[in-house]
Amino acid sequence: MPNSHPYRGCPDYQFWRKEPAIQEPRAFDPVVSPAFHIAPDDAVVTAGSCFAQHVARYLASNGFNFLVTERLNSAFDPKFAAEFNYGLFPARYGNLYTARQLRQLIERAYGMFGPVCDTWAASDGSVVDPFRPQIQPGGFICAEELALDRAVHLAAVRKAFEKMKVFVFTLGLTETWMDRRDGAVYPLAPGVAGGEFDPEIHVFHNFTVEETVADMQASIDFIRTRNPGVRIILTVSPVPLNATAVDRHVFTSTTYSKAVLRVAAEEICQRNKECDYFPSYEIITSPYARGQYYADDCREVRPEGVEHVMSTFLRHYAETGARTVTRQTKSSTSPTSTVPEAPSVEKLLQVLCDEEAIDNE
């Protein structure tokens, strides 16, 4: 009779050598027991790093109620929506790389935070929103126009957070640039896509686990005061840093950043009910994938990787039990979308990734 030990009788997924993905990478499915499911009419809001844009597109084209509260005026051809980043996310907030960005977006939307600096000048004379510097191609014509657009935008943010049933947030980065006067954080360093870097004002900051947990918890707590029933899914972006401001190799900074975010996500999910961690990071980066999900630049995630992530997501979270994912192609439509509000997100093929603007030249 075999000896008794704590691992005896545990399910196969707890054992590395029993993982079917060792033989068949596509079989890798690290999701075990989702805390909830998403019904077709549950309004889903996504936010986070550029990987979150993939999540948004797939949800919109696979029968989920992808909530969009900030749309291009219907007087204009929908083709301009993509150009001006409407529908990329539920509201035009662009990429929210850090938990602090999410927290400050909420605080700005509800009038709890008014940054000292809320406009950046661009080199062409236009005005840029420091908190979404690439959202308006060509910039705004003046600070007054930015203020008008921001009022519309923040109202849309409030509406999205109050109407959503499910919030999917992808943690992307720990590195940020901050205004030392009030702590406002930016998705891009001043000077990259507007504004001017001033070492007297702008300071680099690399968030810790504790800070990330605190920011994420504060965001969830506030959202749930306005929307008590919201269910939350946290993910960590598998996309490595494009650049690091720390004097070390960018990959070393990447592993620090992803480790912090992964630990923070774990802690948040343990602390909060109806708050799941979805392992998109693991699906892309695990040895089972053998690195095949990264593009030739070793950074961008190939469509096959996104498809693996999202088919896993749909399998476990879609209440209807979807088993396949509608592959995103230039001409793809959203045949399974049952929601009138779903935008033509499938047309938004060009992923806005603010990070790409960073270069050392």
């Binding site: 005026n73 705004f140 003046c142 126009e145 657009d149």
Partner: protein, 229 residues
């Protein structure tokens, strides 16, 4: 001096003015769409213009109603936008970024600007782009809207200030295009506009998108002054 004006529908204000005045001074206004038979609209630019209409100075106003196509009829979601920091948004209208307006108008203008380039390529003489007429301020009982707008008339006409802003954006795009292409640009005559920049009521008849003979005469006078200068 042979002066030729090529236009689409806006050519007719000048044609009417020339007919009315019996001008024999070498200025010709042509509806470039109807060269072949005088009545059928054809947006394809003929390739023998320089032979058919030799010119020492060419003026051109193709397209021109794009701003009205975008904003003459009230939208389902009434919108407004800024052109300058001092502008205001009318109550109960949703602000739209100026960049969206510019992109939408630029897309609508692309065809006319392309055709204008085709015309220009056939001539080596000076070439000047002429602005379309400014918007009217108020519609009245004598005005009739183009047929394309009739199904949408129930929505009403957009406010004058919004239409004027759309016109200003279109003119800005046109001027920028002309600068980039090294083409001269002639704005709408000041004499046909009221103090707010709207087309004077006596310069349009019953069609609010086109000028009348009086308007055409003002443009001709301006072309002559420009050409002499």
């Amino acid at each position: 001096m042979r002066i030729v004006f090529f236009g689409d529908s806006h050519a007719h204000a000048l044609i009417r003015a020339l007919n009315k005045s019996g001008d024999q001074s070498g200025l010709t206004a042509v509806d470039i769409r109807r060269i072949e038979d005088g009545k059928t609209n054809n947006k394809t630019i003929l390739t023998n213009l320089a032979q058919s209409y030799p010119a020492d100075h060419l003026f051109c106003c193709l397209g021109g109603t794009e701003y009205n196509l975008l904003g003459l009829i009230e939208a389902d979601e009434p919108f407004d936008f800024l052109v300058t920091p001092d502008d205001t948004i009318l109550p109960d209208r949703k602000p739209v970024p100026n960049g969206v307006i510019r992109s939408a108008l630029a897309a609508r203008m692309r065809s006319a600007l392309g055709r204008m380039s085709e015309v220009r390529a056939q001539y080596s003489c000076p070439f000047t782009c002429v602005a379309p007429p400014p918007p009217f301020a108020h519609i009245d009982d004598t005005a009739s809207l183009p047929r394309a707008f009739l199904p949408h008339l129930t929505k009403g006409i957009a406010p004058a200030s919004v239409r004027r802003k759309l016109y200003m954006v279109q003119i800005g795009l046109l001027e920028a295009h002309c600068r980039a292409e090294g083409i001269g640009f002639l704005p709408a005559p000041v004499a046909v506009q009221d103090v707010d920049g709207f087309l004077l009521r006596n310069c349009w008849r019953n069609d609010p998108t086109h000028g009348n003979a009086r308007y055409g005469a003002a443009v001709i006078g301006q072309m002559r002054d420009f050409q002499l200068a």
